[in-house]
Amino acid sequence: MMEKNQYQKFKTRNTFTQIFIWSFLLIALFIFSIPFLIMIASSFEEFSYVLPYPPKIFPTSLDFSAYTYVLTQHNFLTALKNSVINTSITVVIAVFISSLSAYGFSRIEFPGREVLFGVYLFTLMMPGFLNIIPQFIVLKNITFIPGLSHGLVGSRLGLILIYTATSICGHTFFLRGFFKSVPMALSESVVVDGGGHFSIFFRIILPLSKPAIGTMSIFALQGFWEEYFTAKVLVGANESMITLPLLLQRLNGEHATRWEWVFAASILALIPIIILFMIFQKKLVIGGLTQGAVKE
């Protein structure tokens, strides 16, 4: 009897706590979302050079003219196409090369391995923008590729090369942690069957690390999708290679800013990433990301 009473009390307290947490988080989330709400509300307005007063958090009308304008003008489709191509190619190449490197650094003994890996780690500490000037110069001097006599500045290949190169050290570092956690005994079975490192890599390590590689790919994808600085320096001057972040910034800078265009374009650029995150958020193995890093 007494036990039941106590349980009841425990339960009510629990429900009360749940309601409290819910309301607190809801309020916090609302405040957090204000910038997004403003963005959405403003994208449905027709400003015509005068900003609306008072500023709105909730849309009062549903005017899609900003969206139709953005979709038909301003190279939006070119930018979208470029962003999709650049991002997907880079993620595939970067993750594959990094997986190979991570295998080499985690499963194969060779002299100088730790030193070389230390160099990789060291580059991670460098600010990303440090190298942009020489990278620009190196790309400019790669003139031996047919069809690109002016070097790789302003070309898709150049941008993808830089994106891939700058992500290798970090990706290798994280994946190495995961690959190390795959039991050695598993690979021995492949060796017994007469398989070498490549069989181990493709038949054991890659399949078992799918969640880790997937998680990393999602984060990488998001990073490349929004990358601005490198794209601005390398392809900013080439109208046909413009990416979404560059286009958004340009919409902002042109004459008097038409905010409804800026926000409509922003929302359009945001939607694919949100959908992607929602689909995969349950499958992300974030715990491992930090574990690999902390254990070092």
């Binding site: 500023p55 391995r113 923008f129 000037i133 320096v233």
Partner: protein
């Protein structure tokens, strides 16, 4: 004789190791060498020279670029100060907020995903987009949300403030945006490490009568300590990569008092074509980050050892 044989054996083994490792590490190694390591060395050279990008001429000038950067204008010191201030102001708040939110979300029975995605939205939104929204919110007349609320609705201020045109309000807007943008990331990382804490710990603490605060303090905090360190180091290094928000919100105005190192570097290199000075700025920031990381590592390792005893 025996020794020579041994060295030979070791050499052979080493060579064999390299041969089997090369197919795996070579593609990465080539890219890293050409586009990361060589540029690093080149940056050092440029920082010590007068570099003309059009002709490719490099004239050594010694430490002149460093002297110019450090002593010619005040801009560098503003930038240096602002990067540190950004770290000092935003990192603790990001960690604190991330911890609180992750703890609360983790304690929910229903709706975890909803809040997780909700708080994570700013993280997946590009810096360009959020900078544009913040620029709009901090607009200097009554059409900016902040001015509208403070002057027209709540009458806290008498007149509209040009937020982004003043030193401290401009910096404040940059900090606020940094906190808002990164808190969801910290939350997600903390959430992952919270979910690794065995439930029994909390249950036994509940039976002992521990409240929500005590459980947070004694169980949660000690369990996520390594993760806190991970988030902290990431965010501090991130604080030295601040760029887009400064470029879009304030452009370093007024008089460079809201500038940061990366924006300064960008400006010197691609507006003024002072590649030497830009490289010097980059290297000074790089050295700062390395020193900072070493200091953080030391402090943290000491702290951990003390806890272990």
């Amino acid at each position: 004789m025996k020794r020579m044989l041994l060295t030979k054996k070791r050499l052979k083994k080493g060579l064999k190791g390299w041969l089997s490792a090369l197919p795996f590490i070579l593609p990465g190694l080539i890219l890293v060498s050409v586009f990361i390591l060589y540029p690093m060395i080149f940056t050092i050279q440029i920082s010590l020279s007068d570099y003309r990008i059009v002709t490719g001429e490099i004239t050594p000038v010694g430490l002149l670029n460093y002297k110019n950067v450090l002593f010619e204008t005040k801009e560098f010191w503003y930038a240096y100060r602002n990067n540190f201030l950004y770290a000092i102001v935003t990192v603790p708040l990001i960690i604190f907020g991330g911890l609180i939110f992750s703890y609360l979300v983790n304690n929910l029975k229903k709706g975890q995903t909803f809040f997780k995605v909700g708080f994570y939205l700013p993280v997946i939104t590009s810096w360009v987009i959020v900078s544009l929204v913040f620029k709009y919110m901090f607009g200097n007349s009554n059409t900016g949300m902040i001015n509208y609320l403070l002057v027209d609705v709540f009458h806290i201020l008498d007149d509209y403030v040009p937020w982004l045109y003043r030193q401290w309000t401009g910096n404040g807007a940059i900090w606020l945006m940094g906190i808002w943008k990164n808190m969801g990331w910290a939350m997600l990382i903390f959430l992952a490490s919270l979910q690794g804490i065995p439930k029994e710990l909390y249950e036994s603490a509940s039976i002992d009568g521990a409240g929500i605060w005590n459980k947070f303090r004694y169980i949660t905090i000690s369990a996520v300590k390594p993760t806190i360190y991970f988030v902290m180091v990431n965010m501090i290094i991130g604080a030295f990569n601040v760029f887009i928000q400064v470029m879009l919100l304030t452009s370093g105005n007024p008089n460079g008092t809201t500038t940061v190192l990366q924006y300064l570097l960008y400006n010197r290199a691609f507006s003024k074509f002072e590649f030497g000075e830009a490289s010097a700025i980059g290297l000074i920031s790089a050295v700062t980050i390395v020193v900072l990381t070493i200091i953080l590592n030391r402090t943290f390792l000491l702290d951990q050892n003390r806890n272990g005893e």
